[in-house]
Symmetry: C2
Subunit: 224 residues, 2 copies
């Protein structure tokens, strides 16, 4: 009997690895991406490519007007994406983004009867985002257990974060073993619409260092 | 010194009363409505009218593609709105809707520095929705306390549900005392774009009974 999972898919390296892991665990995967007014379309194209390449059952793109809220370099043009590491919570933090993404995944999990939700958050390279911490995921699980139809009986889908304690290099090594084609993924905060990465932002630097540390050739196209 | 609140405003009777209560508590209110593919536009027009009439500081309408998820008579045209009461969780339940709405309110609360979020959920007339129960609100509060910037220090905005234990008649009586003009609000699940109510759906019947029980003239325009 098949079991279903919802997999949050950003088009980046981490969520592609999550999808491969969910598939290898025997889940029929329903992938979910968000058009939330991010600076470029490349990651949405990447999410669709990755979902197809890994034979997900369905792929959805949900419109989400986070620009009405703003408050982040990723959703407010008045705030620049930084090119050097910052102290504390970075300006690329989007207020309550993972809470919103997981809430929508929770809704989809009811509709497709999924017993698990995969999210590729990571506490090692999480860059100080409050909603990538294990405490947050545990608290969301507690809420999910009472929020839905199943929640009236005290249970909800499992929120799975298989990357939580892995280094970027470990994630890449694991993904390569599972056959992930990282050339399909885009991590850059300010990629061109064709998916060419800047090579300078936090996300690019973490990603490139991951490939170097893993001893895997970096397939990312960078701006010359 | 002014204090800020985010108020979820559907355009209906309950959330308009919530806004009046938040204002009477001294909050500067930032109202938040959602364009989630609901069957009619009347409630969005109503939310804007109500926000203006009660002098909220800002009003936002967030695009939210819940039709991509479906699973409810309110977001899926293939499921009809019923005209009689049903057993259990009704087909008008939108999977994880309040979780999603509160998650977006949580994001806005960070941006406008709000110390409270008002939501007009009600456990008396809640029609069996799992995400209108006190257990759900308590669990969301626990999650909100760790989800945001403030959450890295273990606190978040207070989730306030002043209507939770009030009957519809009590809500109306309280709102009338606070000067709410219920003629501006729309509750019907299938109102016309001009805000004319069907008078038959669950929401219409609960609302009308509330006015009768409160001894207040029902200002709702119904289809003849």
């Amino acid at each position: 009997m098949s079991k279903n999972a919802v997999v949050l898919l950003s088009g980046g390296l981490d969520s592609a690895t999550c999808l491969a892991m969910a598939t290898s665990q025997g889940y029929q995967c329903h992938t979910l991406a968000f058009d939330y007014g991010q600076r470029h379309r490349a990651e949405l194209h990447a999410a669709e490519r990755v979902s197809k390449a890994m034979n997900a059952s369905t792929h959805r793109v949900i419109q989400l007007g986070l620009r009405e809220i703003g408050g982040s370099a990723l959703t407010d043009d008045a705030i620049d994406v930084p090119e050097s590491e910052s102290e504390g919570i970075p300006v690329t933090y989007v207020p309550a983004r993972n809470t919103v993404f997981l809430a929508l995944a929770l809704g989809l999990s009811e509709v497709v009867d999924a017993e698990a939700i995969y999210i590729g958050v990571n506490a090692v390279d999480y860059s100080g985002y409050p909603d990538c911490r294990p405490e947050f995921i545990d608290a969301f699980q507690g809420m999910a257990n009472v929020a839905t139809r199943a929640g009236t009986e005290g249970h909800g889908p499992k929120i799975l974060t298989p990357l939580m304690t892995m280094s970027k290099a470990e994630i890449i090594q694991h993904g390569v073993e599972l056959g992930v084609d990282y050339g399909l993924t885009v991590s850059c905060y300010q990629a061109t619409d064709q998916g060419i990465a800047c090579g300078k932002c936090d996300s690019c630097r973490l990603r490139h260092k991951g490939f170097v540390d893993a001893g895997v050739k970096d397939p990312t196209p960078y701006i010359k």
